[in-house]
Point group: none
DNA sequence: TAAAATATCCCTATTTTCAGGGATAAAAGA
DNA sequence: TCTTTTATCCCTGAAAATAGGGATATTTTA
C-alpha cells in the first residue's frame, strides 16, 4: 500500500529533482503534478473520495498562491496533509503558514534527505518544520525587538506607503488632507515603531510588507 | 571530448534536477557544483589553466551574488561562458546581466528541454535568452517609459548600497574614507542618474538591483 | 466605564538631504 | 592622442528629515 502524493510547483527542475528522489523510494505514488493550484482544486473536486496522503506545494506560483491553495485543501478534506516548500523565509510569512495549519515547511535549498524526512514525518502524523524555520520563528517570537508586536494602523500604512513612493512630508499632507505636522508625527512614530533609522528603513519595510510594488 | 561544466546554486533540489538531466547526456562533464560563488572563485584561482566551457549560476545566493560572480569569472577568463538561471525577471536586472556580458539567461521555471537547449547554444558560441526574457527586455527597451541605459560605477554602487542600509552621508564618508562632500556628490548624481526623487527611490533601486538583501 | 490606542495637531532645534553651482586628476575609450 | 568618464573634492542655500518635547478628541477595548 503506497502513499499517494500530489506535487504543485512551477519550477520544472525542482519538480524533476523531487520526483526522481521520490521514485527511488517505492513507498510513494505520485498521483499528480501541477504548475499551479487551480489544477489541484479541480482534481480534488472531480475525485472527492480518492485517498490523498500529502500535497507538496510551493508558495509563489502563477494563478493561485500556495497559501490560498492550502486553505482550500484543508476546507475540502482536512485529512490531506500539506507540506510547503519555498525559498521565502520571512517570519511573518511563517506565522501566516502556521496560522493556516500547514503540516510542514522546508526551504527549497534543503538537502534531499531533509525532504524525505519531512514527507515521512508528516505522513506519520507529525508536523515538520526545518530547524532554520523553527529558529526564525522562535527568534522572532522571543526577541526583544519583537516584543513591541508591530501592528501598523491603516493611517500609518497610508503614510508609509506614500513615503516609500517618494512623496515628501508636505506632499503626503496634501494627499491625505492632513497637516504637515501630522505627517511628521507619523513618520517619527513609524521610525520608532519599526526600529529603523530613516526613510531608507521605512522604504524597505514598505517593500517587505508589499505595501508598494517593487 | 566532453564539455566541462560548473554549476553554482544553493537550491539542492534544482541542482539535483539539473545534474540528472545533464548526466543523462554524455557530452557533459560536471567539474564542480557549489552553493555559492566564493568556492568557484577559489577553484578558478587554483586551476587557472583548466578548460571550463560553461558556468551555470543562480543570481541570489549567500556570500556572493551571481552578478558579482559573473563579473569575476569574465575578468579571470573571458573564454568561460556563463548561463544565469533565476526566478527573477526584472527588466533592469536583465539589463544589468546583459551589461555584464552573460551568455544566457533562463528562468528557473523553464522546461528541462530549454535548459539543454540553452547550454548547447551557449557552448556553441551563441547567446541564449528565453523568449520570456527577450520579451521583457524588448518591451522595456521600446516602451515609452524606457529609461536611458543605466550603468552605475563600482563606487556608485558602494554608495547606494550603504544609503539603502540606512547610513547617513557622514557615516558613508567615514566608512569609505572619503569626504562627506564626495558622498553628497554621489548621492546627487545617483538621484539624477536613476531618475528618482530621494532616498526612498535610491533604496528601492538598490533593492531591485539586489545590492542589498530584502 | 475606565484605560488604552488612535488620529490629529503644534513647537524647537539640529542634522541631513537636495539642488545648484563648481574644480581637478586619473583612467578609460575612441 | 584627444575626449569622455570616473573618482574625488568643495561651496551655498533651501528644503526636508530627524529627535525631542508636547496637546486633545475620538474610538476601541478590556
Amino acid at each position: 500500500m503506497k502513499y499517494n502524493l500530489i506535487i504543485v510547483d512551477d519550477h520544472k527542475m525542482f519538480l524533476d529533482g523531487l520526483l526522481s528522489i521520490l521514485n527511488s523510494k517505492n513507498e510513494y505514488n505520485i498521483l499528480l503534478t501541477a504548475k499551479n493550484g487551480t489544477h489541484i482544486v479541480k482534481y480534488l473536486e472531480i475525485n472527492p473520495n480518492e485517498k490523498i496522503d500529502l500535497i507538496i506545494t510551493d508558495i509563489t506560483m502563477p494563478e493561485m498562491d500556495g497559501i490560498t491553495l492550502n486553505k482550500i485543501i484543508k476546507e475540502k478534506n482536512n485529512n490531506i496533509k500539506t507540506l510547503v516548500v519555498s525559498m521565502h523565509n520571512d517570519p511573518d510569512m511563517i506565522d501566516n503558514l502556521i496560522a493556516h495549519d500547514v503540516d510542514g515547511y522546508v526551504p527549497k535549498n534543503a538537502e534531499k534527505e531533509e525532504f524525505l524526512n519531512a514527507i515521512k514525518t508528516i505522513i506519520g502524523g507529525d508536523k515538520y518544520f526545518s530547524r532554520e524555520i523553527k529558529d526564525i520563528y522562535t527568534e522572532n517570537k522571543f526577541s526583544k525587538k519583537r516584543k513591541e508586536q508591530i501592528n501598523l494602523t491603516q493611517r500609518e500604512i497610508d503614510v508609509i506607503t506614500l513615503i516609500a513612493q517618494e512623496y515628501t512630508t508636505q506632499e503626503i499632507a496634501e494627499e491625505l488632507f492632513l497637516s504637515k505636522h501630522t505627517i511628521e508625527s507619523y513618520r517619527k512614530n513609524l521610525i520608532a515603531k519599526l526600529n529603523v533609522r530613516n526613510l531608507a528603513g521605512l522604504t524597505k519595510y514598505a517593500l517587505k510588507m508589499k505595501y508598494i510594488k517593487s
